[in-house]
Each structure stands twice: as structure tokens, then as C-alpha cells.
């Protein structure tokens, strides 16, 4: 059975059409990542599924029910830090458990168990204002993991976390959730989306591609990716790399440059030689497998960070 079924869903804010006929089916127990840059419509879609917003047109069903009739099945974790900083972790979780109508006696045990599962038992009675970003995100995800919640919607949950904290977050959430719990992850990070069993790439209100992460990367004919970071960035470096990138794609990123090539090994050697010859200090030069961000670039000619 589909946990989430979206059919031809559109959303308009005034003149602006943010979602343009989105179709999406997510099966029970699936971990689905919706990946796209800011303004692509992914958060709007998540908020419609969480029944915070209403669609302009189209159909949406949660386990065959209207979203407003299935609120008890959805655990939504907004992008912002919504937990109360003045309350302790235990008080925050107790508040949400009581909102879900768990009896007071049951709530105590439930909250203690949940705190242990997400690794916050030792900090249960500390005020959240003293928590690190990662601890707070785990606590907030836990508010959506109580028994009975069947769909967990995480909107950009790892924003601001370092890679180690991001990995820790997902491993704890995956371990804490029920096996049948469906996860819908909203993200602009390829590294997060690659953890999902299926990924949808959304751009400009339309899901432009959807598949397993490996299949997406394989099917879009991506080449090797050569990442170049130099001590300084200059137009001359771009010109040098362009000369080497005939029939290859060159992308300038925040950190440096990325070259896509079907013959990565040879190009890597050429780049190293040319930059050394031109006198540039190379900080990082490596060949990696393509990521989902590279797939997005291939499909849209836009980087994920362009719209950020």
C-alpha cells in the first residue's frame, strides 16, 4: 500500500506557481529523499503532505485518507529549530507525547525510552538552549517517532551539522524508527539523499527524475568527476582548465572547480601537469565517483548551490 500518493498536485502563491502537477508515490516503509535547490518547491510539497498548507489543485492521500484526516499518522519535523529552548529534552518530548494523547503514566516510560534511543538519556534534564545543533535535531526528530506515527517527514534536518553529526543523526533515526515507518527526507544535500532507497530530483516545481540513487547516477551517463581546489581562484585557471576540458564539462564551485570527463585518469594527470606548469598551488586534486548533485547538474545545468 502507498503511504503517500500525490497526483497532479499544484500549488500557487498569487501569480507564482510553486508546484506544477507533481506526481509521487511512496510505499510503506520506504526511505524517499526529495532533493532540490531552495525555491524548487520541495518544502512546499512537504508542508502540503503534513497538512500545513492546502494544494491549489490535485489529489493527495495518506494511506488512502485525506491528509487532514490522517494527522496522527504523520510526524513532521520542520526545518527550523522548533523545540522549546527553555524546556529540558524530557519536558519537550513529554509535551509532544501529551499532545498525541498518550496517558500521563505511559508518557513517562515512552519518553525515557525515546531519549535512550536517540542517545540523549544523559542530557534528558538539561535545557535545550544548552544543546548542540546535532543534539537538538535528534530531539526534534524524536518528537515525530512516537508509536503510531507511520510517516516521518524530515525537512532539511541536517542543515548546519558537520558530516559526522549528519551520519550520527541518520543512523540514530533509522535505528529508532519502526521498520514500517516511511521516511520522506527533504534535502539539498546529495550525501544525505544517497542514504535513501529512492530519490526524486525536483526543480522548478516538477520532479524531473526519480529512481534509486545508484540507478540515477548510472542512467544519466555521468563521467568521472575531477575536483580541483587551488590556493587562489582566477580566470586564468578557468582558461587553463577549459583548454583541457574540450568535450568535457567544467563547473566552477564555491571551493574550486569540477571537471566531468569520460577519461578521468588521463585528464587528472593533464590538470596536475598544467597547473604545476602555470605555477598554481594545488590544494586538492582528486577523481571521485559522481554524486546526486552531479546528476542534478547534468539534468538542469544548475548546481544545487546556485539557488541557495
Amino acid at each position: 500500500m502507498n503511504a503517500i500518493h500525490v497526483e497532479n498536485l499544484s500549488k500557487r502563491f498569487g501569480e507564482k506557481e510553486v508546484l506544477k502537477g507533481v506526481n509521487l508515490k511512496i510505499a510503506e516503509g520506504e526511505f524517499y529523499a526529495l532533493m532540490g535547490p531552495n525555491g524548487s518547491g520541495k518544502t512546499t510539497l512537504a508542508s502540503i503532505i503534513a497538512s500545513i498548507r492546502k494544494p491549489t489543485s490535485g489529489r493527495l492521500e495518506i494511506y488512502g485518507r485525506r491528509p487532514e484526516d490522517a494527522k496522527e499518522l504523520i510526524g513532521y519535523v520542520p526545518q527550523e529549530n522548533f523545540s522549546s529552548p527553555k524546556l529540558t529534552a524530557r519536558e519537550n518530548l513529554t509535551y509532544f507525547a501529551r499532545l498525541l494523547n498518550y496517558p500521563a503514566a505511559e508518557t513517562k516510560t515512552l519518553v525515557a525510552d525515546m531519549l535512550a534511543k536517540i542517545g540523549l538519556a544523559a542530557d534528558a534534564d538539561k535545557r535545550v538552549e544548552k544543546f548542540s545543533g546535532g543534539m537538538r535535531k535528534r530531539l526534534e526528530a524524536a518528537t515525530a517517532l512516537f508509536p503510531g506515527v507511520k510517516i516521518l517527514i524530515l525537512d532539511e534536518p541536517t542543515t548546519g551539522l558537520d558530516p559526522a553529526a549528519r551520519r550520527n543523526f541518520f543512523s540514530l533515526i533509522t535505528a529508532a524508527k519502526d521498520k514500517k515507518t516511511t521516511i520522506l527526507l527533504i534535502t539539498h544535500l546529495g550525501s544525505d539523499a544517497e542514504l535513501a532507497s529512492r530519490v526524486g530530483l525536483i526543480d522548478n516545481g516538477i520532479i524531473i527524475a526519480e529512481d534509486e540513487p545508484e540507478t540515477l547516477i548510472r542512467n544519466h551517463g555521468l563521467e568521472d568527476v575531477i575536483t580541483v581546489e587551488t590556493a587562489v581562484k582566477s580566470d586564468h585557471i578557468i582558461d587553463t582548465l577549459k583548454e583541457l576540458s574540450i568535450d568535457r564539462r567544467l563547473l566552477e564551485t564555491e571551493e574550486g572547480y569540477r571537471i566531468y570527463s569520460r577519461d578521468g585518469g588521463r585528464v587528472l594527470a593533464e590538470v596536475a601537469r598544467s597547473l604545476e606548469h602555470a605555477g598554481y598551488k594545488v590544494m586538492r586534486l582528486e577523481m571521485t565517483r559522481p554524486s546526486l548533485e552531479d546528476v542534478f547538474f547534468r539534468l538542469t545545468e544548475k548546481t544545487m548551490s546556485e539557488a541557495l
Partner: protein, 257 residues
């Protein structure tokens, strides 16, 4: 009941753990009770001093209730909107009715604590009140109406002002300005006729005067408020503000776009 109790508990804890709330709702009125009790009673006949101090204490108690409803309540609402809590709540099976009931009960508890402390300090510095069960009951009733009216205004501010800082400033501004022009900070008899009329219509200053009338006696009240029209108007406008605030909050703040 569980949802109301959960919201009450969370909101009250947040109020009591926020220094700004404690300062403006409790410490500030107490400071003014202390300053006014020792500064503005020099020319008052000695026999009347305890009741003038009582009158000052009631004015500052009312000011505490105004700040609690008009600044702290909208601060809680807009803070929840800004940090995503409202979005989280809207995604959950909780009704706006349970949410605002829990918040208003927490406001009532905060107000009771603030009023108790301000009156205790006033009494400690010599304020005296006419204490009979009937008059105390009536005065408490009018203080509850002040909480209702302030909560109504607070809910309206929280609905229409989007940012927390703006909501707090608006609430404090309305409290200070309306208290100043309705005879709570300055003697009623010094107000121009237009403001005296405002003081009688504005439910908070009217209820404040009724509370003074019952707790300190007729001679220390601003005017004799015991007329049917005055009492009816005060009750009606206080409840109207609360109902309007609740309606706007539950219809607009919780509205799915």
C-alpha cells in the same frame, strides 16, 4: 484535557524561565510599587497613606496583568510562529481551541503569581486593603476581567504582528500608553475630559477602578464605578475583546494557506 494540560504546563514553564517575562511582569511593577509608595505619599494625610499605597499597588498589579496578556502572550505565539513550532503543531492532531485554552490558562497562572507578589510587596511596605470576603471576591472578579481583556488584545497582536520582537514592543507600547492615558499612572482627576471618558470606556482602566473601589474604598477610587451601565460595559467589552482575540487567533493564525 491532556492537550490543554500539556500546553498549559509548557507555556507556564516558558514564562517562568524567561528573564524578560519575570522582569517586566513581576519585577518592574514591584519596583514601581516601592518607588511610588515612598515618593508620592509625602503630601497625603497620614491616615490615608496605607490606602493610597493600596491604590498604587492595585494600579501596578493591573499593569502586571496588562503586560502579561498584551506582551507575554503574543510573544509566546509569535515565537512559536517564527521558530516553526506553529507549523509543527498544525501538522499534529491538536485543535486551536485546546492550544489557546492551554495558553490562556498559563497566562492566568502567571498573572495570579505576578498579582500575588505585587500585592505581597505592596502590603509589606504598608498598603492596606478593605478585606471582606464579598469585596475581595468582587475585586478578584474584575481583575480576572482585566486578564481576559489583556489576553484578547494579546491574541489580536499575536495574530497580526508576525515577528516576536514587534509583538513584544507593540504589547508593551499599548500597555504603557493606555495605562498612561486612562489614569492608571496619573491621577484620574488630572486627565482632560476626553481621556476621562476613555478611562471609563476602556475595560481595563474601568475594571481597575472597580477593583480599587472594592479593595480600598470609595474615597480612594478614581470615581464611583458602581453604576449598572459602567459595570455592564466593563464586563461586555472585556469578554468581547477575549472572544474577538480567540476568534482571530484560531481562524487566522492556524489557517492553512
Amino acid at each position: 484535557m491532556g492537550q490543554i494540560a500539556a500546553t498549559f504546563s509548557r507555556t507556564l514553564k516558558e514564562f517562568l524561565r524567561e528573564r524578560a517575562v519575570l522582569f517586566w511582569t513581576i519585577a518592574w511593577p514591584i519596583i514601581w510599587v516601592l518607588i511610588s509608595s515612598f515618593t508620592f505619599t509625602g503630601s497625603v494625610p497620614e491616615m490615608a497613606v496605607p490606602y493610597v499605597k493600596g491604590s498604587i499597588t492595585i494600579s501596578m498589579t493591573v499593569f502586571a496583568l496588562m503586560i502579561a496578556g498584551m506582551a507575554n502572550l503574543p510573544s509566546s505565539i509569535t515565537g512559536d510562529r517564527e521558530n516553526g513550532m506553529l507549523a509543527k503543531l498544525m501538522s499534529m492532531p491538536i485543535s486551536p481551541r485546546n492550544d489557546f485554552t492551554g495558553r490562556i490558562l498559563a497566562l492566568g497562572a502567571l498573572s495570579a503569581i505576578a498579582a500575588g507578589l505585587v500585592i505581597a510587596v505592596g502590603s509589606a511596605v504598608g498598603a492596606r486593603f478593605v478585606v471582606t470576603a464579598a469585596q475581595t471576591g468582587q475585586a478578584v472578579g474584575f481583575l480576572i476581567l482585566i486578564i481576559c481583556a489583556s489576553a484578547g488584545i494579546g491574541l489580536i497582536i499575536g495574530t497580526f504582528i508576525r515577528r516576536q520582537h514587534g509583538a513584544i514592543m507593540t504589547g508593551v507600547g499599548i500597555s504603557v500608553v493606555t495605562a498612561s492615558i486612562s489614569g492608571m499612572f496619573a491621577p484620574y482627576e488630572f486627565l482632560p475630559p476626553a481621556l476621562q471618558r476613555f478611562a471609563r470606556i476602556y475595560p481595563i482602566s474601568s475594571a481597575s477602578n472597580l477593583a480599587k473601589y472594592f479593595l480600598t474604598g470609595e474615597e480612594f477610587a478614581d470615581y464611583n464605578p458602581l453604576t449598572t451601565s459602567q459595570i455592564t460595559l466593563t464586563i461586555a467589552l472585556s469578554l468581547l475583546l477575549l472572544i474577538l482575540g480567540i476568534n482571530l487567533y484560531s481562524r487566522l493564525s492556524w489557517r492553512s494557506e
